[in-house]
């Protein structure tokens, strides 16, 4: 524990983690560690086929097995729950409605068709073998190419094919720019399916209070409030009339339940009104049941008597995957409610690899308009995103497509940008947000810039320096909409990286190595990240999305002087308990150990839509903590001023006591100030001060930036790529805790190393799944992840809250830097790297050592 107790100045120092005492001693409470008396275990029966009709399903033998309590099939779930509904209804988007379990048709290997509830997981899994399902196979849709073929079998009958979204966007005068530019270069790039793969799988335990029937849902979730509301909505299957009656009857109770969300909703009213539902008409025309389902679900929520309480404690990583509300969660809750028993599901790794979250499978054609001198004039993109079978809730492919569209130009000056965006349905696991979900825009842009540089005879540094925005440009805006201020410091990170990289001496080393038959290469990549970005970044994605720039924090002091900070953020590795304690302790003049950060429990934390995600923990959640801490400090000083008979302006808080500045003797302990408010006899935990502050990130910037430089050594005997050096110069503004930021950067880069060299969710062309264990889905170990040099720049922004996000950046930059380096290493073979996944066999193919199959 830090010994800097109460001295302030915690922000900016590598305070050691508060979480460690618990997590390093095996005393953490991850989902699988939650113990509830009498809890049953669930297991899911999953389809072995990528695409099939279910002719019949017979669960009698499974139900008869000793120790089995119940088996629910798709038919039961359709009776007990509402379907998953569209979250954003953008123009030209079709969102297929689907239930938690599949009843008539399966659409991927791993599609859940039944849930068994039994005394133990062993028995539940025994029972799975006793369920008889008669499948009639359908032609599978295993690739983007097949999905784009109008003759492919539609996964969704009402979609009119397998293209679920097809939209065009133009910014600037695209035709003019592309006609007048000296050159237009075009390349096609593809990124395979990747997977988030947190070391803890998904899991949920629905605890049912036998007496009251109330639900407490323990879950490995990044967003406990979202889970609470969606479970409430999707398990409330009642007739409209019943809901209306209940709505009328339960006014008072409803007022209490909505209280948490009400202030959020009223503060966000303007954003919510702006929401783009222009696609509603097309959605309803294709899927008329959308409206009655939405109506019934909404009224069901409104009339709902009891909402579940969601409790999340320690989470073993997520990287976006646990932001999704799972079909399994809804099936589990429905089963628990129906049985009146607590039921638990802990996903196994095979299930996680099948459908715990896939990402980033996109094919992209880029055309870049450039002049002879290397000036980039414009960019056209044609992108197809493979969403798999079932859209993820709440963030599905369409939202991520908008992020890609807005971010594609990056930090380069550009006059025009156009994008054709398509989303296809295939017989694969669901596509989710994965750390920098839009990152393929950075990968392809930074690849394309290198391709163009080579064709024009420029160096990769030169072309970047020529086109990247700098101080002389600010304030300005990206061609796609968002405003840009000096926080888009990408150029500064590039210039510093070039100083540190010493590329001239590398070129000499490369030449020397080539003489020995070794292939060295260097790759540069840079990017901005909206972390959280300006409000018009969010509106550029989809109007009304600015709601994600707002979070609330509640800060309290109890009679005993203990400080609590409550946040809707849901830490899953990011060390919020430490960083938020740093922020609050600095505001309040107390020690880190005096502050407890409360999260994850919806009965104790402020409402929020998204929990943790989108690099908002520092800027938005942290901004709210600072604002609440500051208000709390004001209230404490007001109360202390009375006690000390001093002016508020003369007071300071240090070491947990309030005293007259410069006169430590004339002071009063925080606990005594608290006691003066609630009375000495009050219980130790009764709250003397209780402040809630909603914080909205504003201003023209809010960008984090970085430049990555990667050096590779490619062995053409084995195809193996090693990374002797890796440099990151990043700028996320003032750093709260450098060691924690470094950890985020390294971890992101490690996932990028995995993406390029090791990891691929492997389907065959017919939708068969080939990577269902860690022997097939290979992730980098300590032998493969390079040492990573990190340098921080700390550009200040004009805004009140200057923290900026950093959680996603490592993963955004790394695939581009690594693939650029590999192409550089293979330059004598005139190779253009068009795929993100480059295992040894592919390296050897590219270099012409072996011939592709």
């Amino acid at each position: 524990m830090s010994s800097r107790s109460g001295l302030g100045g915690f922000v900016g120092t590598s305070v050691k983690r508060v979480e460690d005492q618990r997590l390093l001693t095996g005393r953490g409470t991850y989902l699988a560690d939650v113990r509830v008396e009498g809890c049953l275990d669930a297991a899911f029966l999953r389809s072995p086929y990528p695409h099939a009709e279910i002719a019949s399903i017979d669960v009698a033998a499974a139900c008869a097995l000793s120790g089995v309590h119940a088996v629910f099939t798709g038919a039961d779930i359709e009776r007990l729950t509402n379907p998953f509904l569209p979250f954003s209804m953008m123009t030209n988007l079709y969102t297929p409605l689907h239930y938690a379990l599949s009843k008539d048709r399966v659409r991927m290997v791993g599609d859940p068709v039944a849930i068994v509830v039994a005394e133990s997981r062993y028995i539940a899994e025994d029972a799975l073998d006793l369920i008889e399902v008669d499948y009639e196979e359908l032609p599978p849709v295993g690739t983007i190419a097949t999905a784009l073929d109008p003759t492919s079998t539609p996964l969704w009958k009402r979609a009119g094919g397998n293209v679920l979204y097809d939209d065009n966007a133009e910014h600037g005068d695209v035709d003019e720019v592309f006609t007048r530019a000296d050159h237009v270069f075009t390349e096609t790039f593809s990124c395979p399916r990747q997977s988030n793969q947190p070391m803890e799988t998904r899991g949920t335990l629905v605890e049912v209070d036998a007496g009251t029937g109330e639900l407490t849902v323990h879950s490995a979730t990044q967003s406990s409030h979202m889970l609470r509301w969606l479970l409430a909505a999707y398990t409330e299957r009642r007739s409209v009339l019943d809901s209306a009656k209940s709505f009328a009857r339960n006014k008072q109770r409803r007022a209490g339940l909505l209280a948490g969300a009400r202030s959020f909703l009223s503060e966000s009213a303007d954003d919510l009104k702006k929401q783009d539902n222009s696609g509603m008409f097309a959605q309803v025309r294709k899927e008329p049941s959308t409206l009655p389902h939405m109506f019934r679900t909404a009224l069901g929520v409104a009339g709902k008597e009891r909402f579940p309480t969601v409790v999340a404690k320690d989470i073993g990583g997520g990287f976006g995957a646990k932001g999704a509300v799972a079909r399994e969660d809804v099936a589990l809750a429905a089963a628990a409610i129906e049985l009146g028993r607590s039921v638990r599901w802990v996903e196994d790794r095979v299930e996680n690899l099948l459908d715990g979250g896939h990402a980033r499978e996109e094919e992209m054609t880029l055309s870049m308009a450039v002049d002879d001198d290397g000036t980039i004039r414009g960019l056209k993109v044609d992108v197809v995103l493979d969403q798999g079978a079932y859209p993820s809730t709440p963030v599905a492919g369409a939202m991520i497509m908008q992020m890609m569209r807005v971010m594609w130009p990056g930090s380069y000056r550009m006059e025009a940008f156009a994008q054709r965006s398509r989303i296809v349905a295939t017989n694969k696991g669901k596509y989710v947000a994965y750390r920098g979900p839009w990152a393929n825009e950075t990968w392809t842009r930074e690849r394309m810039v290198n391709v163009v540089a080579r064709r024009l005879g420029m160096s990769q540094a030169e072309i970047r320096l020529k086109n990247i925005m700098g101080a002389e440009d600010f304030p300005t805006a990206m061609v796609t909409g968002p405003t840009v201020d000096e926080t888009m410091s990408t150029r500064k990170t590039l210039e510093r990286a070039l100083e540190l990289a010493d590329l001239d001496s590398f070129e000499r080393a490369k030449a020397d190595a080539a003489a020995e038959g070794r292939y060295l290469g260097v790759g540069i990549a840079n990017y901005p990240e909206a972390a959280p970005g300006p409000p018009n970044y969010w509106d550029s994605l989809s109007p009304g999305s600015g709601v994600f720039l707002r979070q609330t924090a509640r800060a309290t002091v109890a009679r005993d002087g203990s400080v609590e900070v409550r946040t809707p953020q849901m830490p899953h590795g990011q060390s919020h308990e430490t960083t938020y304690a740093q922020i609050a302790a600095d505001e309040l003049g107390v020690g880190i150990e005096d502050v407890t950060v409360v999260y994850g429990d919806t009965s104790r934390t402020p409402f929020d839509l998204l929990g943790t995600g989108g690099s908002r923990g520092g800027p938005v959640g942290g901004g709210a903590v600072r604002k609440a801490g500051r208000s709390l400090r004001g209230e404490i000083l007001d109360a202390a001023a009375d006690l000390l008979e001093a002016s508020v302006d003369d007071l300071e808080i240090k070491n947990g006591s309030v005293h007259v500045s410069g006169v430590p003797a004339r002071g009063v302990a925080l606990a005594d100030v608290a006691a003066s408010v609630v009375g000495d006899d009050a219980a130790a935990d009764s709250l003397a001060f209780d402040v809630s502050e909603s914080y909205t990130s504003a201003g023209d910037g809010g960008w984090s930036t970085a430049t990555h430089v990667c050096w590779v050594d490619v062995d053409l005997d084995t195809g193996q790529v090693t990374i002797p050096r890796y440099l990151v110069v990043e700028d996320c503004g003032p750093v709260i805790n450098p060691a924690i930021v470094d950890g985020q950067v390294r971890g992101g880069v490690a996932q990028g190393v995995g993406a390029v060299l090791f990891e691929r969710v492997a389907y065959d062309d017919d939708g068969g799944m080939r990577s269902t264990t860690y022997l097939d889905y290979e992730m980098p170990t300590s032998m493969e992840v390079p040492d990573i040099e990190i340098e921080h720049l700390e550009t200040l922004s004009p805004g009140e809250n200057d923290f900026r996000g950093v959680g996603e950046g490592g993963m955004i930059g790394a695939p581009a830097a690594i693939t650029n380096a590999i192409e550089d290493a293979l330059s004598e073979f005139d190779v253009t790297v068009r795929e993100q996944y480059l295992p040894p066999s592919r390296i050897l193919e590219l270099a012409g050592v072996i011939t592709p199959d």
Partner: protein
């Protein structure tokens, strides 16, 4: 020594006539506490430790022996408790993550990982810590390269490993200092 790293040794009173669910009696020592139990033949050692002994610090990451989150030390060797049956743990001595600290006093490997910001989500931490404990018991002064190699059997998705390797290196120093201090006393 069998392939899965155990010393073998099965319970002596297996009643094979009573069908597949017959219990197998075992005795072992877990975190210095003697354990006597009758275990279902198919129960994994990891499930036995977590569900029957309530020691949930040992985590299950993949249940097929790759990720290493479930690593425990069994008779001095790091083994994957998801790949062993509880019945195979008869007459063994097993420390788990819960047995490392002495009250609030962290084991040097835990202290070192705290000092180096070793972990983030820390789901993998128990496996790494137990792997490191087994390593340092057999080789108290490993080289940097040996540490990197020995820890490569465990997966971490958060950190990129640097801080974990730093932690092991620091633990080597702390333990050497600790032994010196003991010697001085």
């Amino acid at each position: 020594m069998t392939a899965d790293g155990t010393e073998g040794g099965r319970g002596e009173s297996i009643d094979t006539s009573a069908g597949p669910r017959v219990g197998i009696p075992i005795t072992c020592t877990i975190n210095r506490t003697p354990i006597e139990a009758v275990v279902e033949s198919r129960r994994t050692l990891a499930d036995f430790i977590r569900d029957e002994l309530g020691l949930t610090g040992t985590h299950l990451g993949c249940e097929h022996g790759v990720c290493g989150a479930c690593t425990i030390v069994l008779d001095g060797r790091a083994v994957r408790s998801c790949l062993m049956l509880a019945a195979q743990a008869d007459r063994t001595e097993i420390p788990t993550i819960e047995g490392l600290a002495d009250g609030d006093e962290l084991h040097p490997i835990q202290q070192a990982m705290h000092d180096t910001h070793g972990f983030q989500c820390a789901f993998c931490a128990p496996g790494f810590l137990m792997t490191a404990v087994a390593l340092l018991e057999t080789n108290p002064s490993p080289t940097t390269e040996e540490i990197r190699r020995e820890m490569s059997g465990n997966l971490c998705r958060c950190t990129g490993y640097r801080t974990i390797l730093d932690g092991v290196e620091r633990a080597v120093g702390l333990m050497a200092d600790g032994m010196k201090e003991e010697g001085d006393e």
